[in-house]
Amino acid sequence: MSPAPKVTAVLDVDALIDDPGTRVLVCCGSGGVGKTTTSAALAIRAAERGRRTVVLTIDPAKRLAQALGLQALSNEPGRVEAADGGALSATDGRGELHAMMLDMRRTFDEMVQSHSPPDRAEKIISNPFYQTISSSFSGTQEYMAMEKLGQLAATGEWDLIVVDTPPSRSALDFLDAPQRMSTFLDGRMIRLLSSPARAGGKGLRKLVGAGFSLFARGVGTILGGQLLADASAFVQAFDTMFGGFRERAEATYELLRSPGTAFVVVAAPEPDALREAAYFVDRLSAEGMPLSGLVLNRTHPVLAPLSATRARDAADGLRGAPLAAAVLRLHADRVDLADREERLLARFTSAHPAVAVTRVPVVSGDITDLDGLREIGARLAAASDVTGAEAVASEQSLRPAR
């Protein structure tokens, strides 16, 4: 068996989502750990506990989107209703759940339109280079998620905004991408490339010397004149609105640092995901951003206290009882798996002892309806100081049909 886990602080999910001071809840984590599902489950739980909640999802799986009543990209929140068409049942009647799926292209278009006079906005949007930037630049999705969050917060309509973050390899991308995009859109580089003689000032020319004109010529040859001309026209048209653009990004960044914002990091019990989670935890603390805790998603707690060795020995000794032998062997595998997951978590918590943790035992199969999300919500909130195994065993709904 694994060494007894050290006393780990427990993430009390219900306290977090019930706290009227929590206005924004951001779910971060590397790709494939279940961020979108976690966000949706937190949102539905918050709504049913009486908060007027909106969840901003990014690229949800089809059936999850359907469960939330999202048929297509929708740039405005729509109310989520229970399967029977009635409202979600909140204890005090105020709770509501609204959901949306980020449409990054439309968010970008709307931003351009709101920041510049119509003729100029038209010019920007029809520029071929804008089309590239607004659809395939890595970082656009993060930037637009931030922008949308800023808009939702500015309405003042919501008790709680739950934000899913774009799928990326690194959880840090969510914090870094907007800055990268700002740097990119700040016209300095493109001016250097399109008219190196005039831009950059003497100091810079002295620094890179003739190398720069050569570089600009080389890049021009590779990319082609048309692309550079489009890019240059785009940046010029964009220039006037750039200040406003950056201001908004900064305002949203400040919102993330404010006391009303809570971050939860989602990780699967795998080395890569936990390593990314650790980077992210360090980064949040360096930025002075408030981390609420870690959601360790899709764990496999042991449901029967019987050691792997004893189970395997007994299976080896069984004759003529294939079902019982199979049960013992699958149990032994499960004990090994649970041990490994606890070891990985222990490695994380010993480096980050202050981070509160909640374990979410795996739900087999896809989430296809609101009940599935409620179930995840219940597991998220089944926080106590008992181990995951006991927490699960105590949940009546998890007992198998007999």
Binding site: G32, F137, M189, G211, L214, L223, L227, R334
Partner: protein, 320 residues
């Protein structure tokens, strides 16, 4: 080319494939293109530079080399070749000018990466044999693999002539030839399998050759086939289990037995899902087991061996 949905273990599989194809005295090159140093972590070596390095000895005397291609370094390499930037190159890179240039046209990054891979494939030893018997690319995930390999479309955004354009034509020929195969790594779960099947169709649509599907992290099935469906629906004969266990001297309390039954149901649900997933995939299919303790260098050799046992080898058809 090895791709797969995020989280399916494509880097591990690419590394095991590089080892398997190098066994018996061959030499392979494992290329990383996403700048995350996954190969170095896997082989427990310091971060890879933009330079081919030997990282492992294969069973039977072969060797695996590795290379982390970085599009910015590749662009500088090109520019150096044609324009001799000298010291300015480094300054430009520090200023972000190189990154900016590759960002202007997202397709350019991909062309630089596949171009470097092509250069490695085409390189010959003095005696005329290729330097590498096989080149394995730990390619971008399935969401991006088609645009990554569809060099023709990427080039449409770029200049119609010039040094990169010339090379890109060679890359297109190579990628669309029988010398290339795009292997897809998946888990036996609904979403990754769906994404794998969609990717196969997308690859075929642009004339790229799909290779094998590799089901990774396959876990053992303990239940007899005939019990799986019933158990997956929650029907487990607890009395029979109890009786069986007592013959082995295990007399368990009801609570413990309930726990075992619950675990059995979860196991059956998973096995049922995996069987369905396997049926959807069809051949050519390779399987790799789930490693309970995670992947380290030793277990990587075990995975390579599992691939060799399933017929993987240079000139072996499916994975040639």
């Amino acid at each position: 080319m090895v791709s797969g949905k995020g989280g399916t273990g494509k880097t591990t599989v690419a590394a095991a494939l590089a080892l398997a194809l190098a066994s018996g005295g061959r030499r392979t090159l494992l290329i990383e293109v996403e700048g995350r140093q996954g190969i170095a972590q896997l082989f427990d070596t310091p971060p890879l530079p933009y330079e081919e390095r030997k990282i492992a000895v294969a069973p039977g005397g072969g060797e695996v080399r590795a290379l982390a291609v970085d599009p910015e370094a590749a662009l500088l390499e090109y520019l150096e070749l044609f324009y001799r930037l000298g010291m300015a190159g480094r300054t430009l890179r520090r200023m972000g000018a190189i990154e900016f240039a590759t960002t202007l046209a997202p397709g350019l990054r991909d062309v630089l990466l596949t171009g470097k891979a092509k250069e490695c494939v085409a390189r010959n030893r003095p005696d005329g044999r290729p330097v590498y018997d096989a080149v394995i690319v730990d390619a971008p995930p399935t969401g991006r693999i088609v645009s990554f390999l569809d060099v023709t479309t990427a080039m449409a955004d770029l200049a119609r002539s010039g040094p990169i354009h010339g090379q890109a034509e060679g890359v297109v020929r190579l990628l669309h030839s029988p010398l290339t195969a795009v292997h897809l790594v998946t888990l036996l779960e609904d979403l990754p399998v769906t994404e794998t099947l969609e990717t196969v169709d997308q690859l075929l649509a642009v004339g790229l050759p799909p290779g094998a599907v590799i089901a990774n992290q396959v876990r053992p099935q303990w239940l007899p086939d005939r019990s799986v469906t019933a158990a997956a629906n929650g029907r487990v004969d607890a009395d029979r289990i109890r009786a069986g266990l007592s013959t082995a001297g295990l007399d368990l309390s009801t609570d413990v037995l309930d726990g075992l039954v619950a675990e059995t149901v979860e196991h059956a649900v998973r096995v049922h899902g995996e069987t369905t997933a396997l049926a959807r995939l069809g051949p050519p299919l390779l399987e790799l087991p789930r490693l309970i303790d995670g992947v380290d260098l030793g277990s990587l050799y075990g995975l390579a061996e599992a691939l060799v046992e399933q017929g993987v080898g240079v000139g072996a058809g499916v994975l040639a």
